[in-house]
């Protein structure tokens, strides 16, 4: 589970960076994900940032659990 939390942190941070830079050509998928370069996306980076923080908190909860 710790590994999953780390993967999620990395994925969401990557998505946040992509949605801030939004470098990709507009398409249905890139627009939905907030990666398209046709407009600045305000909600997407916020969402990805919050999800990354939550994944970090989950990782912290996992780390503080006693080893079995």
């Amino acid at each position: 589970m710790k590994a999953l939390a780390i993967v999620l942190v990395v994925v969401f941070v990557g998505c946040a960076i992509l949605s801030i830079a939004h470098p990709l050509e507009p398409s249905t998928v890139t627009r939905a994900l907030g990666f398209s370069n046709d407009k600045a996306h305000a909600k997407h980076p916020f969402l990805y940032f919050v999800l990354a923080v939550l994944a970090l908190i989950w990782l912290r909860f996992q780390s503080s659990q006693p080893a079995r």
Partner: protein
Amino acid sequence: MLAVLQGVSELFPISSLGHTVLIPPLFHWNVNESDDSFLAFVVVLHLGTALALLVFYRATWLRIVRAFFGSIVRGRLTGERDEKIAWLLVVGTIPVAILGVLFQSSVKALFASPIPVAAFLMLNALVMFAGEALRRRQAARATGGGKPIEQLTWAQSAGIGVAQSLALLPGISRSGSSIVAGLLVDLDHEDAATYSFLLATPVILLASVLELPEIFKPGVAIGPVEAFAGCVLAGLTAYASVAFLTRYFQHNDLRPFGWYCLLAGATALVLFSTKVIA
């Protein structure tokens, strides 16, 4: 009028988005729903609704927020009631936040016209009727009353969050779908409504705060007095609505709202599809 409509219909299980699409053409209000000024005004109204929910549940939110940060500082969950509710709300908010940010504008573009909205309003009614029927069947089998909110599992809370995100479809009610989902996982009506309102608060608040810059866009013609008046009026009607609904659900169920949605949806469907109203 729009502020009152928003304040009431956001929390009653009758779909505020659906009413925002249906009511202006029905009453010949001169409203352009894709206009920047209108969208900015709707943001202000949502802010008023969210603030009303925060004020109404202020004591609960204070305990929840304190327990939430306490658990983060400790780095572990203790199983205490407010802490469990705090994390259930986080888990329940994740699906609606993801689906809302990713798909809201495309879903709205596809379905935000009167005929689909009228059809979804009727579907909203059927969901409420089906939810009530299933709940009564469950209640007949069970020995005690509903379980308390803190006994929800993480998966059940996520399920209620997914149900809440059905409200992306204009005509499906956020509170209606999440109350039905709450009933199906064995909450009673009062707790299902309370959990639905608690779950809606961060979503409405964050969405409106993130869209607040819309008000300051060039070309938006909303004065500070109009914005403030709209926010306060929507807030007051939302506060009255949540006060009424929490008392209502102590002894009553969703069926009257189901009948209303069925009737309103059918009437709108006939009027718009026969082009009696353009």
